[in-house]
Symmetry: C2
């Protein structure tokens, strides 16, 4: 009876997109291609625990006190240097780096800064479900831009911008896109910044997978082409070190960073000292880039295994992306197949297999025949077994279609 | 030039209330009555470090993985039992308890759930500045209810409710109020729930200081009188254990808790395992209530010291609250004194003393002659010295008033 007191944002989305996304699968032989989890065997637990002790001992009891909104200076200096060396972003200092509670908080703060009810924003379609959930709460009017093998359809985007110059924000995952796995080409990165300058919008460049390239050559970040402070570069330690400390970071122009900092102050007051100082100490005393190379060697084998297994098991003509890095493949099945229904009615109960159905990744939930499958969180054996189960799931869908038609 | 793209919430508040609240005071002999910091000598650093190791060892590498939005079951069971035993809230189970990133996130999520642009809400005047900052972002229309020695002016509140039945949310700190230090009487707690039922609004009962009573008898929580699920009870470990883990908790009706959880999912995805499991392990292996008794013994001495020192040093006729617990005293000076100007022009540069001026605590920043002073973060000697400095600061204000008039 209290629902009448909820803000209008709750009327629009009574359920978050993130609720019920991952079904319980308590079977002993369950396989999950669902979440975006790192392989936990590679977490440097011993080194992180030593780093925790170092972080606490350096400040003694003061470690457990309130701290400030900025977080460790040395860590922000390291990230500024990393942004220059690895992302091609020029003239970044520690003051340009803002630490956030995971990449997710960065997305949420950008939504809060730019989006009011009915404000126009553009997203890749499909797009990262967690970002859509964060944007949903501020009630944007979404414009969906299709994806191609080399990233967002930039011609389509420009024609939408011509019709809707009120678009003020574009959210993109240019490297090993979530959910499709594709990478935006160099030309499209340059052209995107030109469009932002011409049509006066801001780009949120979300790059949690950027460091995890298993094949091919690195590309400069979109931010590296930024001439007017319109690109917010967002990254995270969740995929390359651990998600447990909820530590993300972003690089933005001073006017944007100042407002994001003010909004963060009102959300959670500070960057927690212990997690951020632990990551700082880990980096000072270990070789993060060598750790990333170890991750890449393992994940490369998993990606190659899954690509072969999908090719072997999926029906002829099924579209599958072929990522050069990241965490995910994207599969498009026969347009008549509803992968949400398939997940709950066949995949989980019959095959004990979890994936994420495509509808979650579209603002309007209107594309039903795709799925995102993750390969980093499973073992090589689970990847091969899971792809065989996926074949059985899809076969059962195709067989049951005529019966479903009759039933309707 | 990108400001034209910001959402309207940023136009209203280009500066967060929390920005510049605490001036730098780098003098060797600085004394801060400003923040709301616990005495860090009493943080159980050794026990918390042991608890961290236990939390990590229990899950090994899995500790560093993503976890869920609920947080440790055993911790929520403990908090449910605590809510029943210490807050007088009946029939609370682990499922009714939600963990948040500090109490601050609880306030922010409640704002997000209930407040849209122009929605009416009531706050105590003065009120906790961090809560006002969280509400500001959702652009409420504020109604200010005055404070009395036994809590909010409930008759004034009812007359405002009669004129503005559209008020949908009331935010209160009933125990050792931030910033005034006063405690809401039993009668007012009961009557507040009656008003909420009659005028159809929700109460956010924020209780970070509740466990820290140094004199007098505990009162039941407002939530304990709740008959219609209208009260959200919010608490935190920041003041009784450590603020470093950013761990708060709330008890709410299922329909409210479900929506708050959905909103949290979209903000930061999860309750971080390591901090929450560390607190869980600390509680399982230590006596939190004995730790709180230790805190109370020290803070009682500090409160009594500051009360005596304020009485000795403040000009005759100055109003000072006399709290029975918590972290703060509230001082009201001559109506002609502007404590913000006094802070920056005299208190910091001349006396190296920090306090928080009253204007920060009012939605409209229109009351200038008050100040909040904290006693928990200073030593006994600093409290006595600081109160003598405060006398000098106030004396200088009174002396300079005629000159200021002339200058204008």
């Amino acid at each position: 009876m209290l629902e009448n007191l909820f803000a209008s944002r709750i009327d629009i989305k009574t359920k978050s997109r993130l609720v019920g996304l991952f079904p319980d699968n308590n079977f002993a032989d369950n396989i999950s291609f669902g979440g975006g989890c790192p392989d936990e065997q590679l977490f440097p637990a011993k080194e992180l625990t030593a780093a925790y002790q170092d972080a606490v001992c350096r400040q003694m009891n003061h470690a457990f006190q309130y701290h400030d909104i900025k977080g460790p200076e040395r860590l922000r200096e390291y990230l500024a240097a990393r942004a220059q060396a690895k992302m091609g972003i020029s003239k970044v200092t520690a003051d340009d780096v803002m630490l956030t509670a995971g990449g997710q908080q960065g997305i949420e703060l950008v939504a809060k800064l730019f989006i009011g009810k009915g404000d126009a924003m553009a997203v890749e379609a499909p797009s990262y479900v967690g970002a859509l959930a964060a944007f949903d709460a501020y009630e944007p009017t979404y414009y969906q831009i299709g994806m191609e093998n080399d990233g967002v359809n930039i011609d389509q985007f420009e024609s939408i911008l011509k019709k809707h110059p009120e678009i003020k924000l574009f959210y993109t995952v240019p490297d090993f896109h979530n959910p499709t796995g594709v990478t935006m080409s160099l030309k499209k990165r340059e052209r995107l910044v030109e469009l932002a300058n011409k049509y006066d919008f801001v780009i949120l460049e979300d790059t949690p997978y950027r460091d995890l390239r298993y094949h091919g050559q690195d590309l400069p970040s979109i931010k590296s082409f930024d001439t007017e402070g319109r690109v917010i570069f967002l990254s995270s330690f969740s995929k390359i070190l651990t998600p447990a400390f909820r530590l993300g970071w972003l690089v933005a122009s001073p006017e944007i960073k100042e407002q994001l900092t003010n909004l963060k102050l009102a959300e959670d007051l500070e960057v927690p000292y212990i997690p951020s100082a632990t990551v700082d100490s880990y980096i000072a005393n270990n070789d993060l880039d060598q750790h990333i190379e170890d991750l890449k060697d393992l994940y490369r084998a998993k990606l190659d295994t899954m690509y072969r297994a999908l090719k072997q098991n999926l029906p002829a003509g099924t579209k599958v992306s072929h990522p050069e890095g990241g965490f995910f493949f994207w599969i498009e099945l026969d347009p008549e197949i509803d992968t949400t229904s398939l997940l709950w009615k066949q995949s989980v109960p019959d095959q004990h297999l979890i994936y994420v159905p495509s509808e979650s990744f579209y603002p309007n939930r209107d594309i039903k025949n795709g799925m995102r499958v993750n390969f980093t969180g499973s073992t090589i054996k689970q990847i091969n077994d899971g792809c065989r189960r996926l074949r059985a799931v899809i076969d059962s869908a195709e067989i049951s279609l005529p019966e479903l038609s009759l039933a309707i």
